[in-house]
Symmetry: C2
Amino acid sequence: MKDGANLKKLGEFGLIERFARQISTGKGVVLGIGDDAAAFQPSPGRINLITTDMLIEGIHFDLSLCDPLSLGRKALSVNLSDIAAMGGEPRHFLLSLAIPPAMTLDFLDNCFTGMLQRAEQFGVTLIGGDTCASPATLVLSLTVLGEQFPDRIVPRSGARPGDRIFVTGTIGDSALGLRLLQQGERQGSAIVRHLDPLPRVLEGRALAEANIPSAMIDLSDGLLADLGHILDLSAAGARIHSEALPLSADFRGHFPAITEQTLSLALAGGEDYELLFTVPPEKISHVLPLMEKLGTPVSAIGTITEERKLAVIGPDGTEISLDRKGFDHFS
Amino acid sequence: MKDGANLKKLGEFGLIERFARQISTGKGVVLGIGDDAAAFQPSPGRINLITTDMLIEGIHFDLSLCDPLSLGRKALSVNLSDIAAMGGEPRHFLLSLAIPPAMTLDFLDNCFTGMLQRAEQFGVTLIGGDTCASPATLVLSLTVLGEQFPDRIVPRSGARPGDRIFVTGTIGDSALGLRLLQQGERQGSAIVRHLDPLPRVLEGRALAEANIPSAMIDLSDGLLADLGHILDLSAAGARIHSEALPLSADFRGHFPAITEQTLSLALAGGEDYELLFTVPPEKISHVLPLMEKLGTPVSAIGTITEERKLAVIGPDGTEISLDRKGFDHFS
């Protein structure tokens, strides 16, 4: 209650000032927080990238299961991940906060600190936003701006039959982490993957700069759903090999037998924030050396096909029937 | 319930597709809705402007008092108004929607139609956003991008002692409109001003292009609070003459006697979305002819002073004591 009172005393403009004091001016910022709009200088020869993601208490996060530092970091990470999927360089961001009556200043301070930690890590600067009251639940709406050279943008629509499909890191850990949190566990690598995912910004930029991927997407809705977006926009299909899917030691430790149910968790669980990208045959040999330089594991998991169908092939060479559908907010 | 079922059947991606089908590609759009991030080309020699505003059911609007068409238009207008206050040209926008279970597809369709009407009116294109479920209340979070020449940006910080203070249109109507709505009225110009304000985009651009204002802001928190932002950032004070305040015939009809209470409504009621700007002495004569060309009324209401104090002067030349504070979400 003490903190709630502090927040009330501080007021909307006081909170904005408190946040603004912690911000240093970033590259290209002409006008930051405090004017009607922020102003920034685009770099010569680049085009602008922009993405936005909203995180809502009770839908995207549960305050009893997450700490404010991680929440702040994650809110920025999921947006940075979208810029990564374009191969872009993130530069600036906006933060809109809707704050419920029960929120404490201490929680907000920690959440903001986490966000600024992640911002510093990836060289992005807060340049504006909005702060208001919320009737019941905390809402964080972030917008991240980035840049890319026009001939280096990696769209979802560029996959062609014969392209190999790659994915960075491991999948399914975040979904496992959420399940463990709901079961009362509070520690472990899967839980960290769920609460505090790291966006693959360096990997996305390196791949785009080397002109390797024909299409790229970040895994937020689940591998099958996100690969599905690439297939829809590229008018193609894919064959994925279940044995090639990158599952962490932690994931395999929890599920010694990989059943259709555990495969579904890995393929449709969502929130992996890894990059999935397709690579034309002549460039396949460039992928591993590049990722090795960054110390990032990468796996070839399948191939783009002419036939517009997404098939998951089991160890015996037959197709496994899985629910392709990823997370849909209204279903 | 029928419509709720339709929305469920349509799903998140179906709703995005339904919206995306209605969008035509705008100027400079490299990649619009449907990829990880939107991409757009900045115009040569310009800098980017960006602003974001969140509208939350139960805080910023009441679904029993507003129609969906107006709500959609207003959500975009309040953001366009911030670009107008920089003298900028709005170009693109992002829409994030958090949709509660009780929301109907019909309401969303109408809200989106209203937003696109306003977008067309001011030549802005929807290029991206986010759609998710909300536990209880509708949330609209919009981000508008614009452009401006670097030497034509009008900040809040440029007001100097001796500058004349101008305001477009009339003030207080929106606050009156809200009061009338709460009293059960449903029609009239004040109510339209509250539910469906028009941003002064043309006026802001014309003033900036003619290099007239030293500082500018749009009136969202109330004239005293918003002028206060200019004074804080310009390290100056102001004298406002109560008799010079532009009050509409409708406002004067409701309040034949202008008391301190009605002045407070006009000066602190908020949501006017007019432009307040300061003008150096040598440029004062340029203001009226320029605004006349646009058919926009404008009033000189006072002067910037050295003494860091905001004084409202009554008809008898003495200072009126008024509460300067505008709308604060947490007080």
